[in-house]
């Protein structure tokens, strides 16, 4: 079967006649999920997320439902929800589309999640460089507030929650969850040691906090609407849902492609959807998940054990696009930013470019990372 996109998160993006205003969103069924969610019990909603098995889309891949489960609800301290819109991983450019073109999807996701975990306040920490995105979000939140989807008594219920959008100031480490929490609180963005500073127990202002990526939060209304069971059946059962792959580098058609997890291979993505290498060149290497993940070299083969006990040999183009498969081949899914390099690329130069970034962005707290 040829590779097909399945646009769930990106269902509105690049659609003819779509604009980011709230009217357009509501006309197309927007905020209906929020309206029904606020009348459902919170425990049920959290259970749905857990059942869906959706993993965090930020790069670490920790199951979202489990993260919500670890939240310390007994301490009496207020709970905070933070949306991590600090998209700084080199090679990643997919959250941006949602923020710029479909901000209300994110806002609905944030409000649904905030209700489900009973957050006192929600924050969206957006990358400082996304100046227009910040303005768009502020505008969208104001629109939503006017219609009662944000702020006091959401959709006429007893629950109130404000969203506060904070801008970063150009720092990669602010995308790390404890670094983000420090930065949001006004301090230097030093990641904190876990234990004891698990965000679910001691997060923002030492209160229980959930930090989720933009795409993860956009899944929340979908899970509430379709049910966790149904979502868990999309794609590879070990890694349900769809992934948005932002392909950049030396391909014919770089861009963003949303694909059901495991439904296609890397080769199909690069050759079919992206049109293959540029004229007269051949692929040399690909980094599948944002620059922090291990590189895959064309020509390499991987022996991967299958669930039925056999072992299969995969070339790079045979690797299915989901988390467990990529991990089995020594890399990882990460943030889904695919960087493609062809045979004109000098690997040492590419490496030097990457390393300069990491050296520059290290916070300097821990000795090995700072000096190494």
């Amino acid at each position: 079967m040829p590779i097909q996109e399945r646009r769930i998160l990106y269902r509105h993006i690049d659609v003819e006649g779509w604009n980011p205003s709230i009217d357009c969103y509501v006309k197309n069924g927007g905020y209906e999920v929020l309206k029904s969610a606020v009348s459902r019990p919170r425990a049920e909603l959290c259970e749905e997320v857990l059942k869906s098995g959706i993993k965090g889309r930020g790069g670490a891949g920790f199951p979202m439902g489990m993260k919500w489960k670890f939240l310390d609800r007994k301490s009496g301290k207020p709970i905070y929800l933070i949306c991590n819109a600090d998209e700084s991983e080199p090679g990643t450019c997919v959250d941006r589309e949602i923020i710029y073109k479909d901000p209300h999807q994110l806002i609905e996701g944030v409000m649904c999640a905030a209700y489900a975990i009973d957050a006192k306040q929600a924050f969206i920490y957006i990358r400082g460089e996304y100046i227009n995105g910040y303005r768009i979000l502020i505008n969208a939140i104001n629109e939503a507030r006017e219609r009662g989807f944000v702020g006091k008594n959401i959709c006429g219920s007893q629950y109130s929650c404000e969203i506060n959008v904070t801008r970063g100031a150009g720092c990669y480490i602010c995308g790390e969850e404890t670094g983000l929490i420090s930065s949001l609180a006004g301090m230097r963005a030093y990641p904190r040691i876990k234990p004891p500073y698990f965000p679910a127990v001691m997060g923002l202002y030492d209160c229980p906090t959930v930090v989720n990526n933009v795409k993860s939060l956009c899944w929340v209304p979908i899970i509430f609407k379709e049910g966790g069971e149904a979502v868990s059946k999309i794609g590879n059962p070990k890694d349900p849902g769809t992934y948005v792959w932002g392909v950049s580098g030396q391909v014919q058609k770089p861009g963003r492609y949303e694909i059901e997890s495991g439904s296609a291979t890397l080769g199909e993505l690069l050759y079919d959807l992206c049109g293959g290498p540029l004229a007269g060149r051949s692929f040399k290497a690909v980094i599948p998940g944002g620059s922090s993940m291990k590189i895959l070299k064309w020509g390499e083969t991987f022996k991967v054990p299958m669930p039925d006990g056999s072992a299969r040999e995969w070339r790079v183009e045979d690797i299915p696009l989901d988390g467990p498969s990529l991990m089995a081949c020594g890399s990882a899914l990460g943030s889904g930013g695919v960087i493609v390099m062809d045979n004109t690329v000098d690997m040492a130069e590419a490496m030097a470019n990457l390393n300069a970034f990491y050296a520059h962005e290290s916070c300097g707290q821990g000795t090995p990372c700072r000096e190494g």
Partner: protein, 81 residues
């Protein structure tokens, strides 16, 4: 930082034959010992890149040691930290 300085030196024409192994050794020394995952994020590309493309690195360094090829000092897409 150290890794960045070595790779910059290699690109600027001053690579040594022991540099790829040194890079791998440093990357191994970072993994698992850091406060947060930024260390691994820095070390994994180095580990995979240098080990999978080691021949390319060594060939480049050998060319530099033999005096062939211009050094890419004009490429300022990265900065010395």
């Amino acid at each position: 930082m150290w890794i960045s300085r070595i790779t910059k030196r290699i690109c600027a024409g001053g690579g040594r034959l022991e540099d790829p192994d040194l890079l791998l050794s440093i990357a191994d020394g970072i993994c698992g010992r850091t406060v947060c995952a930024h260390g691994e994020g820095m070390a994994w590309p180095v580990q995979s890149n240098v080990s999978k493309f080691k021949d390319e690195y060594l060939a480049k360094i050998r060319r530099q040691l033999a005096g062939e090829g211009a050094s890419r000092l004009d490429n300022n897409s990265y900065r010395l930290i």
